[in-house]
């Protein structure tokens, strides 16, 4: 009984401690560092650490006093307790996170009630549609990304003289997959394009042949898969196996990370994907990242690095460590330096709901070991190549 008593005592004592230190300013980071999304959580944190480091080197401001408190939240069920702990025990003045939409949603319920600001790059539309004041979303919403995935692809194809009259949507039945697929579907309806295949499939599917068989029968003009890595490899490989040359336009996540290339090699060449941001806007930052981690900087690292810098700058502007004042400063700030210059729109700013006013989805294309921004034209680094697979 004694050990239990000590554990109980210490846990409760932790809760009672006002943990706010005098000179350091703590910012909480809530990410899945274990569990199935661990890789994405880790690279997000890597991006944030790099962003903080660079800010500390480049400016003499408040960044030197900022400490990042990282905590592992593998699933939404773990989010409330972790968020509360960061706010009340560690005394964080703001939070950044989380990679997956459902964790962000769960955490933001706590931050809203505790009145602590949180910046996220998760896609779900709901995040900023609940009328909450303390949550900010720096990327476009899932529905907008889905719409862009369709519209941009159609525009590029038609510019090359390819007519798009029917498409296939393949999505995993996660929060991210269903939200983005809905965006594609709605945009297709608006454009009068037939959705010949519209299949959700369970996460962790081990054989996608049934999906590809239905694609082959329906003969769509473009395939739009929305998925994490496992399924993206299976889909592209199975299509290649069967000699299907239908162009594939990926839905971010699994299609724009280094591991996609590791799994497919040369077959990634010229694969398109929608993306919330790409590293080729900020080659210098990317070089730093590549030196530290051996791969190009994935978009989540860039986005979360930018989110952190926005928050730090807002703290400076507010000249306060009161979370409510910081929230107002985040809302008012238009931040265009550092990592933020690597985002489409090259700045971060929010409307009154906390949604981005500057961000928009872009199109990227695999070229060798790199992905380059190819669309829309004002953002493009290179021309898109509409090549059907041979």
């Amino acid at each position: 009984m004694t050990t239990k008593a000590i554990l109980l005592g210490s846990a409760l004592a932790l809760g009672a401690l006002p943990a706010m230190a005098q000179d350091t300013i703590k910012i909480g980071a809530i990410f899945p560092l274990s569990g199935p999304n661990a890789q994405f959580g880790n690279s997000s944190v890597n991006g944030m650490r790099l962003a903080l480091e660079r800010m500390q080197e480049e400016t003499d401001g408040i960044a030197d006093r900022v400490e990042l408190v990282v905590t592992d939240v593998p699933a939404p069920g773990d989010a409330p307790a972790a968020t509360q702990r960061l706010i009340n025990n560690d005394g964080v003045v703001g939070l950044i996170g989380s990679f997956s939409s459902s964790i962000t949603l769960a955490a933001s319920e706590i931050t809203e009630r505790a009145q602590v600001p949180m910046i996220s790059h998760s896609f779900a539309d709901q995040i900023t549609e609940r009328g909450y004041e303390y949550i900010f979303q720096i990327s476009s919403k899932g529905s907008a990304i889905g719409a862009a995935q369709l519209n941009h692809a159609v525009e590029i194809a038609e510019a090359e003289g390819v007519d798009v009259s029917s498409i296939a949507i393949l999505y995993e039945d996660t929060s991210y997959g269903t939200a983005q697929a809905a965006g594609i579907r709605d945009a297709a309806a608006e454009a009068g394009i037939e959705v010949a295949v519209d299949q959700g499939y369970p996460l962790g599917i081990s054989d996608v042949s049934p999906l590809i068989n239905s694609v082959r029968r329906a003969e769509p003009d473009i395939v739009f898969p929305v998925s994490y890595l496992n399924d993206s490899l299976l889909i592209v490989r199975t299509m290649r196996q069967q000699g299907l040359s239908t162009p594939v336009v990926g839905g971010a996540a699994g299609y724009i990370i280094p591991a996609f290339k590791d799994g497919l090699g040369e077959f990634t060449e010229n694969v398109f994907s929608v993306a919330p941001a790409n590293y080729d806007y900020v080659p210098e930052i990317n070089a730093d990242y590549e030196e530290a981690h051996g791969t190009f900087m994935p978009h989540e690292a860039l986005m979360y690095g930018a989110a952190l810098q926005h928050m730090i700058t807002a703290i400076e502007e507010a000249d306060s460590t009161d979370p409510v004042e910081i929230r107002d400063a985040i809302s008012a700030l238009e931040y265009c330096d550092g990592f933020a210059s690597g985002l489409p729109g090259e700045c971060i700013a929010f409307d009154e709901t906390g949604a981005t006013t500057t961000g928009f989805p872009i199109f990227v294309q695999w070229r060798g070991d790199d992905i380059v921004t190819v669309y829309p034209p004002e953002s493009a680094r290179e021309e898109p190549i509409w090549a059907t697979a041979d």
């Binding site: 239990k4 274990s34 459902s102 929060s175 997959g177």
Partner: protein
């Protein structure tokens, strides 16, 4: 039994007083709520798992049904959870009846696997019925601010009395059952089903009653969970690992079939988890669930009967081959 109820009441009141003493916004208060919730969840599982020795690994089904029923009613019709939660309990009871019929005769691992599959069916169902449940994207509880009528509050401290009351309610149901006729008959079924049948116990009805009560209690816990976290999605509330296995784990770590088992188990599980998370989580990802797994292995090996022991396991090599099912 009166003594047990009295002690339970004292624990519940002590928890409420502790909640009042702590900062109502604090993490400590949230941990207190989590402990009470875990104890209630483990106790609800204990009704079938402990009294009837049916190792259910599908209680997430009832937890999820409870959470979704009250939340959907609240989102769609602005119905207060005070009414929504009992409706959820009724639906869960119906679901328990439906699944109990085909699985009741199963024993040991067979029963465990069948219930596990049932939990998964409910999860996939909730994911597919996106019109009602919001699908994989989950459902947010509408924000009303502090509202007793809508059973929601800004600060976790306000939930302590609710969780304490639920804990007391479920534990009292267990205490009354285990001392009463029903509990006696469930135990008889547990010890020897055929013998129980011969003595005139309607084993089907007994097990069905136990399953229904257990499911209803679990659904109430699920409903309050939704009010407490404000966001639910199918992967969370129908989770095999986070809910079903956890409910069983709490009862088992403490001591299966005992009134005090889930209470000891909840204290142990929640405190160890939160302690590991708060001290190690940023040090090395994976270390806290790893150590938790180590703790579980050590407990099972050292005290297979749980922290509060009671059962004499007769290890007869001929009579029991470890796979009597």
């Amino acid at each position: 039994m009166k003594r047990s109820l009295l002690i339970l009441a004292v624990i519940a009141i002590a928890a409420i007083l502790l909640g009042l003493a702590l900062d109502p916004r604090s993490y400590g208060v949230r941990v207190l709520c989590l402990i009470l919730m875990a104890a209630a969840l483990g106790q609800a599982w204990n009704i079938v798992g402990g009294l009837a020795n049916q190792i259910s690994l599908g209680h997430a089904a009832f937890f999820g049904i409870g959470a979704y029923t009250s939340t959907v009613l609240q989102v769609q019709f602005e119905l207060t959870p005070w009414i929504g939660m009992p409706i959820g309990a009724v639906l869960a009871a119906v679901a328990a009846g439906a699944i109990a019929l085909p699985t009741m005769r199963l024993k040991g691992p067979y029963f465990a696997l069948a219930t596990l599959a049932f939990g998964e069916i409910c999860r996939i169902g909730a994911q597919a019925m996106s019109g009602v449940t919001g699908g994989p994207q989950g459902l947010s509880v509408p924000f009303y601010g502090d509202s007793l009528a809508m059973m929601q509050f800004r600060q976790p401290g306000a939930y302590v009395p609710l969780f304490a009351a639920l804990f007391f309610l479920v534990s009292a149901v267990f205490a009354v059952m285990s001392h009463g006729r029903l509990g006696y008959m469930l135990r008889a079924v547990r010890e020897n089903e055929e013998a129980a049948e011969v003595t005139g116990i309607d084993t089907v009805r007994i097990k069905l009653t136990g399953a229904i009560i257990s499911a209803a209690c679990t659904a109430l816990v699920g409903g309050l969970f939704a009010q407490f976290t404000f966001f639910i999605d199918p992967d969370t509330v129908f989770s095999t690992t986070e809910i079903s296995i956890r409910a069983a784990l709490i009862a088992i770590v403490g001591g299966v079939g005992l009134l005090w088992g889930p209470i000891v188990g909840a204290l142990f599980v929640v405190l160890v988890e939160e302690f590991l998370n708060s001290t190690l989580s940023d040090a090395l990802p994976g270390i806290s669930p790893f150590l938790f797994g180590v703790a579980l292995v050590v407990i099972v090996i050292a005290r297979p009967e749980g922290l509060v022991s009671f059962r004499h396991l007769v290890t007869d090599r001929f009579g029991k081959k470890g796979k009597e099912a």
